[in-house]
């Protein structure tokens, strides 16, 4: 469904220095697939998502959705932003209803849908608050609700659960999966948690840094619903997969990092 070929993107900063965020990246995401994306910080995950969203002009390559090259942003896609990007002047409900409003949904209907999602996100009672009056995790959930509200065919999520606690994260994961089962959007989901990547994804895409490209695609052959223990325990397959991902990422890391390592023990 999403086909990306030879995608390259170089940023030039104000002093003329260049950073190559994406270099000849390729990725295919099937219709209704839930793809999770793992990679070291700064490898180009956000850039890739923004390219798919049609927000960032890229230097070369093609991005096609259903066989048609994308022309900027479209109503088929919605994105959850890593930095939330909430409108500071709009209340929680208005922020969540933002996409619906742009689509011309009538006031009563969009407010109802927004309120419902706000409650789903565990933010009932905060409907009228402004983003500046929320905690970090609450803001993040508003951003998620906003994207879910428009029921897109393609859902682009950039570390959507990074700022919430484990319990909330689990609940939100369940919510997201339930929604995915119901509406079957294609999801590209960036995360730093290998457990999360395995729990949610049909496949896990591993990105490498500089050159930023998809280094490996790992299929997750586990039946859904994927049972998860009540606690942090994990079944063997989980552990195996996450251990594999862990090793692969560490290899990539060691190739590229210049971190002065303490004893990695």
């Amino acid at each position: 469904m999403i086909e990306i070929h030879g995608l390259s993107k170089t940023f030039t900063d104000r002093r003329g220095d260049t950073v190559t965020a994406l270099d000849d990246a390729r990725l295919d995401v099937a219709e209704n697939e839930f793809l999770t994306l793992l990679g070291p910080s700064g490898c180009g995950k956000t850039t890739l998502l923004k390219c798919i969203a049609g927000l960032v002009p890229y230097d070369s390559g093609t991005i096609e959705i259903d066989g048609r090259p994308i022309q900027g942003p479209g109503p088929d896609r919605a994105m959850v932003f890593q930095n939330f990007a909430l409108l500071p002047w709009a209340s929680v409900v208005d922020n969540v209803a933002f996409g619906l409003r742009l689509r011309g949904v009538a006031r009563a209907e969009r407010e109802e849908r927004a309120r419902e999602l706000v409650a789903t996100m565990g933010l009932a009672g905060f409907e009228k608050k402004l983003p500046g009056e929320l905690s970090g995790g609450m803001q993040q959930r508003v951003g998620i609700a906003r994207a879910l509200a428009v029921q897109p065919q393609v859902l682009l999520m950039d570390e959507p659960f990074g700022a919430v606690d484990e319990q909330t994260r689990r609940l939100l994961q369940e919510e997201l999966l339930a929604l995915w089962e119901e509406q079957r959007p294609t999801v590209v989901f960036v995360t730093h948690s290998m457990e999360e990547a395995v729990l949610l994804g049909d496949r896990v895409a591993l990105m490498s840094a500089r050159p930023g490209r998809v280094a490996e695609l790992v299929p997750v052959d586990l039946p859904r619903p994927r049972a998860r223990g009540g606690g942090p325990d994990r079944s063997g397959v989980y552990a195996e997969l996450t251990a594999y991902l862990w090793d692969r990422l560490r290899e990539m890391h060691e190739e590229h990092r210049t971190v002065r390592t303490g004893a990695p023990a």
Partner: protein, 262 residues
């Protein structure tokens, strides 16, 4: 209310200082053209009872209201456009600067030529006086909007028009309102100047009359009343500003200035 009360002592203090300085200076150095504070106060009271004043205010304010409304209706969108479209800005900037610096006395004859000496030219002049303030500040406001909000709006399918109304305008609003306050001040000045130089039917006529007769107290009383009107309008704009941009208190330092940790 508490905030009002907290400010009041300072306002009273500075007003007392101001009045005393005025009165003392006028007594020491004032002549025909510089009345004392109390003299002016008395004259203001007397003038307020004159129907002529109210008629003059009515006449003058027609141009003010119309002219400033046009300045807002044109200036805010234009400022936002300039902030948004680089190319447009580069071409329009020179003219904006020219508009800013051209002494209005110089364009009055041209205005008379084009629009006569009626309400139209007075209105036009008020607009010309105030619009630059609105445009320049609206443009500066747009530059302060977080670009990731524009990105977000685009990702939800916002067209350019919607980016304007839903992102740029609200985001720039604090700066726009600063421009509105400045513009209001300039519009009132414009209202007076146009009458001093052109058709002096309203308050400008009063000023010319009192000055010509060297009647300093009513002259300054007229000016006091005009300034009072301007201040009233500016406070009204402030009030609107606080209502429209209350959100900025959750993001701007202003809110924190009142107290610091105990």
């Amino acid at each position: 209310m508490t905030r009002l009360n907290a400010r009041l002592p300072y306002q009273i203090l500075t007003f007392a200082l101001f009045a005393a300085a005025w009165e003392l200076y006028a007594r020491a150095r004032g002549g025909l053209l510089l009345p004392g504070f109390f003299e002016t106060l008395r004259a203001t009271g007397a003038l307020l009872a004159e129907p002529e004043l109210w008629r003059a205010l009515y006449v003058s304010n027609q141009a003010l209201v119309l002219g400033f409304a046009i300045a807002l209706a044109l200036g805010i969108p234009l400022g936002i456009l300039l902030g948004r479209f680089r190319t447009l800005e580069r071409y329009a900037d020179v003219w904006l600067n020219i508009l800013l610096v051209t002494p209005m006395a110089a364009i009055i004859p041209l205005l008379v030529m084009w629009t006569g000496i009626g309400l139209t030219s007075r209105t036009a002049l008020v607009t010309v006086f105030s619009i630059v303030m609105v445009i320049v500040n609206s443009r500066a406001g747009v530059r302060q909007v977080d670009p990731s909000l524009i990105e977000m709006a685009r990702s939800f399918g916002a067209r350019e028009r919607e980016i304007f109304t839903r992102v740029l305008l609200p985001g720039a609003l604090p700066a726009v309102m600063t421009g509105v306050r400045l513009g209001l001040g300039r519009a009132v000045t414009g209202m007076v100047i146009v009458e001093l130089l052109m058709i002096s039917d309203g308050v400008g006529g009063l000023i010319l009359e009192y000055r010509g007769l060297l009647k300093a107290p009513p002259l300054y009383a007229t000016i006091v009343i005009i300034l009072a009107e301007a201040l009233l309008l500016i406070s009204a704009a402030r009030w609107c500003e606080r209502r429209l941009t209350h959100w900025s208190r959750t993001t701007a330092t202003r809110a924190n200035l009142a107290g610091s940790p105990k």
